[in-house]
């Protein structure tokens, strides 16, 4: 696959909005054209080439394009923004909005990501080897349409507001999470392999949440219905199955109300 390597050469004073670091933005462009793409520092416009040494030409389509950010991008926002295909690899950490609004392709961040990773994503795959800050796979502020598809995997811990208004797709946090998981959920799956402090599934209408560790404070709107054995992301676990949030409206299917499902590791 044609690969474009972006080697960081300068640190912006403010965070840099890098809408250009996406296979969709650079497909069909040669090395020098890529270096001329716009990046924004606040309201000041710069060239991508002012902050990165660009080498290699892009493929003809996003699907045929691989971008490698060869170093630390922890002050570079919007990497993989709205991408529909191809591959982005960040060898260090990245700032906010990694893979925001993405529809396809894959983003792999080897370090950590800041907040809003995978915000309102519709498809594709995001893999973060390190930690994530808050608002993983959430909705844009005010919006009631959260993540709709794709897979978002955080190997480390994550902060608060994970999968707010999630509608589809899967979020997997392999470490612990803080608070607010799948708030207002209307579908999709959120798996937290570690512990969560609380507020899991608040105002959740539909969808599935798995907490394979402990929930320190359960919300009162969930009712335990059974204890089951279930396979979750490659492992088999004994889980307490709760339904909720009972304080919310719930749609009906074939005469039966549809609830959100919350599965928590059962006491042994």
């Amino acid at each position: 696959m044609p690969t474009v390597t972006l080697k960081p050469i300068a640190e912006p004073e403010l965070c840099l909005d890098c809408y250009a670091i996406s296979p969709d933005a650079i497909a069909g462009l040669a090395e020098s054209e890529i270096a001329d793409l716009d990046v924004w520092e606040g309201k000041v416009k710069h060239r991508l080439g002012d902050f990165f040494a660009v080498s290699g030409n892009a493929g003809q389509t996003p699907d045929e394009t691989h971008i490698v950010v060869d170093g630390d991008a922890s002050r570079m926002k919007y990497i993989g923004y709205k991408m529909t295909g191809g591959l982005v690899t960040v060898k260090g950490s990245a700032d906010m909005y990694v893979g925001g609004w993405m529809k396809g392709g894959k983003v792999h961040v080897m370090g950590n990501v800041d907040s809003f990773c995978g915000i309102q994503m519709e498809g594709g795959e995001i893999l973060v080897d390190g930690r994530a800050q808050n608002h993983v796979g959430c909705a844009y502020r005010g919006d009631w349409r959260g993540m709709r598809g794709g897979t978002l995997r955080i190997r480390g811990d994550a902060g608060n507001d994970i999968g707010t208004f999630i509608n589809g797709g899967t979020i997997i946090v392999e470490g612990n999470a803080f608070i607010h998981v799948s708030t207002h959920g209307e579908g999709g799956t959120v798996i937290v392999k570690g512990d969560v402090q609380g507020r899991v599934g608040g105002q959740m209408v539909k969808g599935d949440v798995y907490v394979l560790g402990e929930i320190q404070h359960m919300l009162p709107g969930f009712k335990k219905v059974e204890t089951i054995e279930k396979e979750v992301d490659g492992g088999t676990y004994r889980l307490d199955h709760y339904v909720g949030d009972l304080g919310e409206r719930h749609p009906t299917s074939k005469g039966q109300p549809v609830y959100g499902n919350l599965y928590v590791r059962a006491a042994t």
């Binding site: 309201k43 844009y140 502020r141 005010g142 919006d143 009631w144 409206r249």
Partner: protein, 568 residues
């Protein structure tokens, strides 16, 4: 001020019966004149369409509920906000645009005047500050009267002179333009968790009916001789089968004659009629009743109306009809806000998506256009979307296009998921009428100017009227067959001259113009009883003092005051 000559355009000025004649329009000192000198700036309009500046008779563009919508919907700005450039401001939002975007986008479409359709009197200082913050366009605001405690108390006792004295005081205090009525009685009933869905439902505590409120306010309006008529958002908005209540309300105008010195002929303006022309007993058998409603209006000459046409967008509904917004939230489960304004009114805001894949939305779209296409007197039928309720005002060009092109309508019907069901429940597919540029000018210029009593300023291009002239890149002899091209030409005018100043060129903003705020100052005989009632009520029931209630002059710094003298 510089002179401008707009040369050789095809002029459409229904106020003088001019239908596409090629002629010049001269402007000096902000007004249209017979001729200008040879040094005038010349705008070549040959092969193009020339009209007076447009008039929007009903839009929600300023005030607390618009701001509530903006606050509640940050996502309305996402990916929809153009950056600032060249001395002009950032343009934010889509269905609830920022004040600057509001002014700019109206100007780009060639609009000169916009009526803010519902001003809660208690919050009128805010409304005026926001109007002042909206560049270019002239504006006025209609305070709401239909659920006001003073009005209901006086009307219950049949004291029209007292209602008139109170109305005159409130128009002056709020710098308002005329009498707006929203869900008469129903919004007050909402304070008890109730509503008034027919004309005869009694308002709790006040023991008065919507019928008495509307009739009383029509009488009051003509007693005062205001430039505009009563402007009504009727009871039972948005519910299947509501067309009966609609026609019952329109009948209240029968036998009443307009009395004013402004050339207005109607005594009732029925707004966003699309929302009030519904048949059926529920959403399953929901159907159009546009023909029944328009047939009545075609015969009844002292009524005007505007469409409130659905544009099939994601938008933000907002109205002083609090109970309706609560009802709407129950249908779509999206976020919701509701507010009560003391003794005066209430309001609610709910986002709404008019989706082409939902049957009901398709039928609503058809009803809005049917009202225009079935109307026989285009000087009494005005184009609106009840911005932002049925869609944003920036879609007016699309509505013109639907009204002017059967091809455009057919393409939209075809795009519906349930097109056969929409066609079965409406008449739209069988209507082959295509409106002309002259008729569009009637609906957006001469008609609304007359209905608002503003013919001396707007709606035409006769010498002495305001120098508001728009040039659209449309050759009337050769209109584009592609609906998208027609829409684009109306969306971004080639030129727009607002009160003698060029504010738009090739769809780009050239100036922040010289906006004005219009309001009506009614001089009535001293009425000691009403004066005392106002004084006492402010002490007893209001949270603000009387001296802090009035809109100070500095909040409306470019006023155009219309004085009305009411004989004793």
């Amino acid at each position: 001020m510089a002179e401008i000559l707009i040369r050789n355009g095809a002029v459409f000025d229904p106020s003088r019966g001019i239908d596409g004649d090629v002629m010049d329009v001269a402007i000096r000192d902000g007004q249209v004149v017979d001729s200008v000198g040879s040094n005038a700036k010349v705008i070549d309009a040959s092969g193009k369409t020339v009209m007076a500046g447009g008039i929007d008779v009903h839009a929600h563009v300023a005030g607390p509920k618009v701001n509530a919508g903006r606050t509640m919907r940050p996502e309305d700005k996402l990916f929809k906000s153009a950056s600032a450039s060249g001395g002009y401001r950032m343009e934010m939002g889509f269905s609830i645009p920022s004040t600057f975007r509001t002014g700019y986008d109206y100007a780009r479409m060639g609009y000169a005047f916009v009526m803010e359709a519902a001003m809660p009197p208690l919050h009128s200082p805010h409304v005026h500050e926001e109007i002042h913050d909206t560049p270019i366009i002239d504006e006025a605001a209609l305070p709401v009267f239909g659920n006001n405690w003073f009005v209901m108390e006086y009307l219950k006792r049949g004291e029209i002179e007292n209602v008139a004295a109170y109305t005159a005081w409130l128009l002056k205090a709020s710098k308002g333009y005329g009498i707006k009525v929203v869900n008469p009685g129903g919004t007050e009933a909402w304070g008890w968790g109730l509503n008034c869905l027919t004309l005869d439902d009694s308002v709790p505590y006040f023991q008065i009916t919507p019928k008495e409120i509307v009739s009383g306010l029509i009488q009051t309006n003509e007693y005062l001789g205001l430039p505009h008529s009563v402007h009504i958002h009727q009871n039972d908005l948005g519910n299947p089968g509501n067309y009966r209540t609609t026609i019952d309300t329109l009948r209240l105008a029968e036998g009443v004659t307009a009395k004013n010195r402004f050339g207005r002929e109607q005594v009732l303006h029925s707004t966003h009629l699309q929302f009030h022309s519904y048949g059926g007993t529920g959403w399953g058998d929901f159907e159009t009743k546009a023909r029944e409603v328009v047939d009545y209006i075609n015969r009844q000459k002292n009524i005007t109306f505007d469409l409130g046409a659905v544009t099939l967008d994601e938008t933000t509904t907002m109205t002083a009809d609090g109970p309706f917004e609560h009802h709407l939230n129950g249908l779509n489960h999206l976020k919701w806000t509701n507010v009560d304004v003391e003794l005066e009114t209430a309001a609610g805001v709910v986002p709404y998506i008019y989706s082409p894949s939902i049957k009901v939305c398709g039928i609503q779209w058809a009803i809005g256009l049917e009202l225009g296409l079935l109307c026989e007197d285009m000087d009494r039928c005005f184009i609106t979307t009840d911005h932002p309720n049925a869609g944003p005002f920036t879609r007016y060009p699309r509505i013109y296009t639907w009204l002017m092109s059967q091809k455009a309508r057919d393409a939209t019907i075809e795009s519906f998921k349930h097109s056969a069901k929409v066609v079965a429940a409406t008449e739209i597919a069988s209507i082959d009428r295509e409106l002309s540029l002259y008729e569009i000018a009637q609906m957006t210029r001469s008609g609304p100017a007359k209905a608002l009593g503003l013919m001396n300023l707007y709606g035409g291009l006769a010498p002495g009227q305001d120098g508001n002239v728009v040039v659209y890149d449309l050759d009337p002899a050769n209109l584009p067959s592609d609906p998208a091209a027609l829409e684009a030409a109306f969306q971004r005018a080639s030129w727009f001259v607002k009160t003698g100043e060029i504010v738009v060129k090739d769809g780009e903003i050239m100036s922040h113009g010289n906006k004005r705020t219009l309001w009506v100052k009614t001089n009535v005989p001293e009425n000691p009883q009403v004066k005392r009632d106002i004084h006492d009520t402010f002490i007893k029931d209001y949270t603000v003092g009387l001296q802090n209630y009035e809109v100070r002059d500095y909040l409306a710094p470019n006023p155009y005051v219309i004085e009305v003298d009411t004989e004793a």
